[in-house]
Symmetry: C2
Subunit: 527 residues, 2 copies
Amino acid sequence: MTSRSVKNVLFIMADQLRWDYLACYGHPSIKTPNIDRLAKRGVRFSNAFVQGPVCGASRMSTYTGRYVTSHGSAWNFIPLSVSLKTLGAHLTPHNVRCAVVGKTHVEPDINGAARLGIDTHTDHGRLLMEGGFEPYERDDGLWPPGFKVENNKYCDYLRSHGYQSDNPWHDFANSSLSEEGAIQSGWKLRWADQPAQVKEEHSETPYMTRRAMQFIEEQGERPWVLHLSFIKPHWPYVAPAPYHDMYTANDILPVKRSSGEKDDPHPVFRGFMDYTPSKTFSENGVREKVIPTYMGLITQIDDQIGRLMQFLEETGRDKDTLIVFTSDHGDYLGDHWLGDKELFHDTVVKVPLIVVDPSAEADQTRGTSSNEIVEAVDLLPTFLNALDLPIPMEWLEGQSLLPLLRGEGQSWSKDMAVSENTFAFRDCVRLPIGAPVDRCNMTMVRTHEWKYVHVDGLPPMLFDLVNDPDELCDLGKSPSHASVREQMQRRLLDWLFCRRRMTGIAPDAIASWNQKELKAGIEIGVW
Amino acid sequence: MTSRSVKNVLFIMADQLRWDYLACYGHPSIKTPNIDRLAKRGVRFSNAFVQGPVCGASRMSTYTGRYVTSHGSAWNFIPLSVSLKTLGAHLTPHNVRCAVVGKTHVEPDINGAARLGIDTHTDHGRLLMEGGFEPYERDDGLWPPGFKVENNKYCDYLRSHGYQSDNPWHDFANSSLSEEGAIQSGWKLRWADQPAQVKEEHSETPYMTRRAMQFIEEQGERPWVLHLSFIKPHWPYVAPAPYHDMYTANDILPVKRSSGEKDDPHPVFRGFMDYTPSKTFSENGVREKVIPTYMGLITQIDDQIGRLMQFLEETGRDKDTLIVFTSDHGDYLGDHWLGDKELFHDTVVKVPLIVVDPSAEADQTRGTSSNEIVEAVDLLPTFLNALDLPIPMEWLEGQSLLPLLRGEGQSWSKDMAVSENTFAFRDCVRLPIGAPVDRCNMTMVRTHEWKYVHVDGLPPMLFDLVNDPDELCDLGKSPSHASVREQMQRRLLDWLFCRRRMTGIAPDAIASWNQKELKAGIEIGVW
């Protein structure tokens, strides 16, 4: 009889994958049979939210188990404080190896390390600079055209297969070739329907999947947590054959937008409508050209997940591995007159989340879906819980999903999700508003019924999710919704005040503090 | 001609010193001629507020230049994250020595250091554990009776002068002797009018002052910042002769309290009324017994400041040293039916603050007072500014007071102060309310007109400072003040959202980010 208790965690993340572009989430024509099969083996969450609508902030919340306000890495490229405990820091003391294949977007806190006298060239120091993930194959992708890429395993791999270039990632894996033999850069959307200039097996998704299988194979019976972090379907929107023309314009979802949204929009919304991808995706024909390729990239990921699942079954690892599949945020793709991401519509902050728990206790929930509001910060405590490790609540701000997987969902108390961003880095938003860079914060609070977005120094946004599920009508200034706004503001305030500190005393140590003080003879103010 | 630009900072802090127990702040009979003279030489701030109403939280804000929410050391004994930049970390790279004589209350982040692999036995590691202050004579005082004190310079000093005991701090410096020769512990208030069993010159305040003068002398012409941090007039309320009977019950300020305060008080206020020192100070005769000694301890500090100022003049250091005199918080002493501290009445969160700037630019403000709202977090940027060092605004949350000292006060924009605390550690408050330890946060926002206290999960408190300057009537539930509460809540929310992160990108680097990205060839979503 094979063991069915969880020994490993396979944590799969796609990048910029919308929740509604998967068959098991209701897409009418996309082919994702392997991800659908995961959903049949586990629980599919239909209200899962990320804590930031950009890669960096969202991922740092997932990796630290803390909201953006509490980890401070509020946008891409803001260093992750070396002092923050990450997933890896919670695992390695218990001899669970924690590694990444693919993207993390962790920006090293070089200044912090220098100030603290930490040598970043030791194994320990390097790990701190990697946010606690052993960089088995760390690769964040995304190189500008013309950039000479060095010390990158994937680019070296491409070169070893004949793709000779300073930047084979760009010139081959993420570009197509014109009839005249010129490179058609994937950074430009106009060529999205052309095939990438690499064989499918040489493209990023299958390469990273093979590396993940190598890692798992090497571990043998030692426990591990592997973050397999696909860079796709994030732009550049270029797919290798046959994925580049697997879908047509008939397969894309109808656009979610209304002319009313352009009528006196919130200044931040207006600013993001002026962001280049928003303008491009609002042009006729762009969605029809780009989204079929986006879908092809998703099906390619699905095919690779099929291979990976087959590998796990062949090695028996399906019996002792918790499998999580999710995304770091969505992609507007023209919805709401927007492109890329950065605001808080469900298109972007709601993500697919499927969790397969091999243990017998989870049999009762297999193939079901859960409507509970859950968040990316809940994943880290879930992993620790599944591995039967301590969950230090003085550090973590989420809660384990295990009760929902094991039929104890009645104990689930979370009824709101929070997501945060700053528009400080986007000139098209900040400059017209005239906000200083430290007054550009935005925070979303979302319940089942309402979505409220606090915007520093500006009116809030408010959406009635029951009567306006597509979020087309901003009630942020509606006089008849003042009490709703007040109630949501109160929730936000309460939430803000119970963020975790950078150093903690365990809750039970606090609760017993007063008695200990008295016992030690510290008697204040006695007569 | 002697230089008059600032080269050093003498940062003097008293502990638990109320703003209104100094002659220059209006006390009718206390003798503080030397502190009054400082006020004549500099600017006296009549609206200076600390960021926490307990020692630890307040001091960590002063030493880091960040609000409590941003440094996380929310109460006494919560470690100060090793990753936080403190005053010392801002100074030492510029070869300015930063040392302490007396109390800091910094709790070392031992776990953080261990996780980061920092050796706390090196000079560098030790400094991180001391919150960046070189422990020239670190001494937080406060030893329980019967505790065997080892490796403490002041206790060794007492022993070398014949005060033989396991705990000479308690048995001699902070206790009196009964007629029968028994130790009358200073922890008990009943013996507050008896003289301490040490000669005045052997008591804490003159000892620390001498150590400060030694430090300054040793530096010669090298620049320094010295934190002279007196432990008094903090309890135990015991003074050596002649300070123990210098004042009588006729000298104490009338008590600020009303019977209305006991009528259906806010649950947190009620809980603190049940705190032992509150009950003791509400008894008849206790204030009359204790406060004269409290006043004696203040006059002793004043006498020592007189000696210190004479020393600075004799050594010429008065010409190049910025002098700051303040306190970490006040003491209820029976006001509002409370003892000790921990709530947000002006009695506790408003502190004396006097700044003497030797430079010629400050001549125009000498002897004046400023009504502007200023905060303890403003001190660190003031020090850096006075020393002509960079002020890294991605780390600091206060603003330099120099404009107010140098006649450019019109640029002062701060119009509110914030102070934070938790009642998690006080059973008499938390248990009747039944709050879990992570839902005990309280935050005060104070303008010139209003004081609003947000209490997690409970109604707020609100005081009308114009019509009720003694804060006797809580308008937290007053129906006619709903719009004031809403406005104060909005201020609180805006404030919360611009707290600094643990890692920073300088504001101008953020402002230019978008353009740099485009120049690097990162063109998102172009057609």
